[in-house]
């Protein structure tokens, strides 16, 4: 660092010019993870020489200007969210507010207002942090992710994108271009436990999306952040809830079950045992808040 930054004008131009960028290249979108990482000095090393000699081993391909990655559109059955959409754009979008209650609940807990003006939803996924709030929420919304390489596209369920902390199944140069999120009639909650009310990294977070059929649960999706190497779907817990009444007793059982599905670690932010316990507490609160018709807020 610092690298050379190039700005292809269109997606097509990007695919055409990729080989000329050399081997070590990375995509630059909002910069909130990539530039922060480059600014950070490894222990004992001064990272970024101010006006000094530059190590130009990397090329950053700036995709923040690509129109193909922008916008939030509606089809009959889903929302198409461009990977380049800023978190603040999602926050302001009437479509997101109308169709994606879990994501809407998560966004106020995503970093700070200025970082939300910069960070993109595609970058939040590509960074593959297990604590990514918007990604966890989109997993509960049953989102799929669209990947493209030289005009060829493939589509994955969003949780399948992640292999581990900071690791995805993205192939070399493959780009996240959009998220396809189904429209379904659900309520949602996002409960995040962090060191403070806002602008913290979670110790644990629970995203729950739930569709009712009368008094019974028709469909439910539960995702958790910061309690596994990847954004985690609690499949067993969701299966348990499906077809059952949404009441306090079932919420308690679901809370006990979800604790068996997570695999938290002890690190600087929290302890494994506490995190596991809190998954149960947060899920129970989320389910009870949905049951009482109040969208989950911290």
């Amino acid at each position: 660092m610092p690298p050379i930054v190039v700005k292809p004008p269109t997606l097509q131009a990007l695919w055409r010019s990729l080989p000329s960028f050399g081997g070590a290249r990375r995509y630059l979108a909002g910069g909130t993870d990539l530039v922060a990482g480059a600014n950070a000095a490894p222990a004992g090393v001064k990272a970024r020489p101010k006006g000094g000699s530059f190590d130009r081993t990397e090329v950053w391909v700036d995709i923040s200007g690509l129109k193909e990655l922008r916008g939030i559109k509606e089809t009959k059955t889903s929302l198409m969210i461009g990977a380049g959409a800023k978190i603040a754009e999602l926050e302001a979008s009437p479509l997101v507010r109308r169709w994606l209650p879990v994501l809407s609940a998560a966004i106020p807990h995503f970093a700070s207002p200025s970082l939300r003006n910069m960070a993109t939803i595609g970058g939040n996924a590509a960074n593959a942090s297990p604590c990514a709030d918007a990604v966890c929420a989109l997993c509960a919304e049953k989102a799929q992710v669209l990947l493209e390489f030289k005009g060829k596209r493939r589509k994955l369920a969003l949780p399948a994108l992640f292999k581990g902390p900071k690791k995805t199944v993205l192939r070399k140069d493959e780009l996240i271009v959009a998220f396809e999120v189904p429209k379904w009639k659900h309520s949602g909650a996002y409960l995040k436990l962090g060191p403070r009310s806002y602008f913290g990294i979670s110790k644990a977070a629970v995203a729950a999306a739930l569709e009712m059929d009368g008094e019974k649960v028709r469909s439910v999706c539960i995702a958790l952040a910061s309690v596994a190497p990847v954004p985690l779907l609690a499949v067993k817990t969701a299966n348990y809830l499906c077809g059952r009444m949404l009441n306090e007793e079932n919420a308690r059982t679901a809370a006990a079950l979800v604790k068996t599905e997570v695999s938290p670690i002890t690190d600087v932010r929290s302890e494994a045992g506490y995190r596991r316990e809190m998954c149960g507490v947060l899920l129970e609160r989320a389910l009870n808040s949905i049951a009482s018709g109040v969208s989950g807020i911290n």
């Binding site: 930054v5 000329s20 630059l28 101010k50 090329v59 207002p113 200025s114």
Partner: protein
Amino acid sequence: MLNAIFKLKCTVNGVKIERDLDSSRTLLEFIRVDLGLKGTKEGCGEGECGSCLVLVDGKAVNSCLMMAVQLQGRELTTIEGLKGREGGLHPLQKTFMEEGAVQCGFCIPGAIIAAEALLRENPRATSEDIKRGLTGNFCRCTGYEKILSAVEKSKSCR
């Protein structure tokens, strides 16, 4: 061989400029080193502290995390570009002084930019809105009370 030099056209505090720029510059380095505008501060370099906030197209961003080439065609406002309606100090600058919201002062340009972005979008921000609007700005001196009351007070003199 890729060219590391980039031709940047943008508006800085109301003035159109054109510069040959090293593409590896962050926006913060461009502002402080190339433009010589020292009001914008570097604190943490990772988006935590908010000392480096500037407005790009009217929205607050952390200039330490944006690359200067991403300013192409856009409008930058730094703390030096904020003014009152008839010149002189901006209302936020006045109320920060009146309320004694400044101690060491390092975080203040960023805090004022965050408050300005918030009040442009929502001139009637509640005290809760103001707190949330400033969540990305750390002050290690004041304990925030005076900063919050300065922002609150500035609403009536915008």
